[in-house]
Symmetry: C2
Subunit: 198 residues, 2 copies
């Protein structure tokens, strides 16, 4: 049985991000996956990395331990959040800072000077669903879509995940109900195409 983790960061429980999150859970269950799902706002996750987590020291935060263990157990890692200024909301950047760290997502040898680290998420598939309110041409020409760089090159690439996918749904603020339904179908189709090959 394939195990999947779905992580959401959005402050409003009626947001389109929440609809995507729910659709992810339903789709993955329909595909026969075991699903871990976390709404970081609802669970009161603390995104502030404390000084004690700067190096390789194990965390004492039970939520961080749980999220990290589930990430390592899952083959499919799904992240849902809006694009705010080219970064994820602090709730998700803090998730990244605290979960994508040694010894979970990668590790390095303290005895080897300058060891850049070795990814520990090899074989997993990473999927990101983002929402935005900036037109595509403006996003790509002026802002260069920094979230694509961050997730695909920095995070997934560095941690050894060879396969990843990302969808940026826009412009959500102006969208019709029909458009949003089509986007949710795209969410399900994206998950299906990856889950069947795991």
């Amino acid at each position: 049985m394939t195990t999947a983790s779905v992580i959401l960061a959005h402050p409003y429980e009626k947001s389109f991000n929440h609809a995507i999150f729910q659709r992810c859970i339903e789709s993955l269950k329909r595909l026969g996956c075991r699903v871990y799902a976390h709404d970081l706002y609802a669970e009161g996750f603390d995104p502030v990395m404390p000084r004690s987590e700067l190096g390789k020291m194990e965390t004492t935060d039970p939520l961080v331990r749980r999220y990290a263990a589930e990430m390592l157990e899952s083959s499919l890692l799904v992240y849902v959040h809006p694009n705010w200024w080219g970064h994820p909301p602090a709730m998700m950047t803090g998730y990244i800072d605290r979960i994508f760290r040694p010894p979970y997502a990668y590790d390095y040898d303290e005895a080897k000077e300058g060891d850049p680290g070795t990814g520990k998420l090899g074989g997993k598939v990473g999927i990101v669903f983002n929402t935005g309110n900036t037109a595509a041409d403006r996003e790509e020409e002026r802002f260069h879509d920094p979230l694509e760089t961050e997730w695909t090159n920095c995070l997934f690439g560095f941690c050894g995940m060879a396969r990843s996918d990302r969808r940026l749904f826009r412009i959500v603020a102006d969208s019709t109900k029909e458009q949003r339904e089509l986007w949710l179908d795209e969410v399900e189709a994206t998950l299906r195409s990856h889950a069947v090959s795991l």
Copy 2:
């Protein structure tokens, strides 16, 4: 008298980021500026944007009010933080999410459908000091330095700031004391070059 704001996000009070922050404060005072300075970790800032701040509603958080008022009062805005995965630490992304919002950093007309907003930081100068542990060639070729895009194009550009500057000091982990002293001198020189023309 020129007013400047300096904002820091780093969890370790003996970090090089703290040394940069201190040098900013000293340099700006030597230049005769009035200085507002905030160590977000030390002040216990909450980086999680609540649902009530999604639109244009005024915040009820006294720290957010204070930081926003000081930003608007300052001609020189200085941000100090490490590069973590191509984004600022959650403490700084949350500062951005909660302070760079309407009606402070920009505003939009709710009556005009699709109004992208008008920047309210025109005339100010934005300066960013970042630290990193990734070699320059790897950062630029593989990761495309998303922090440059985020600060310069997304934030400063959108909010109407025509002039900005950014220094990324690297590789801090391997640096000598002499190198770090030179970097701190560069911090002071950068601030001086902008402050004299304000």
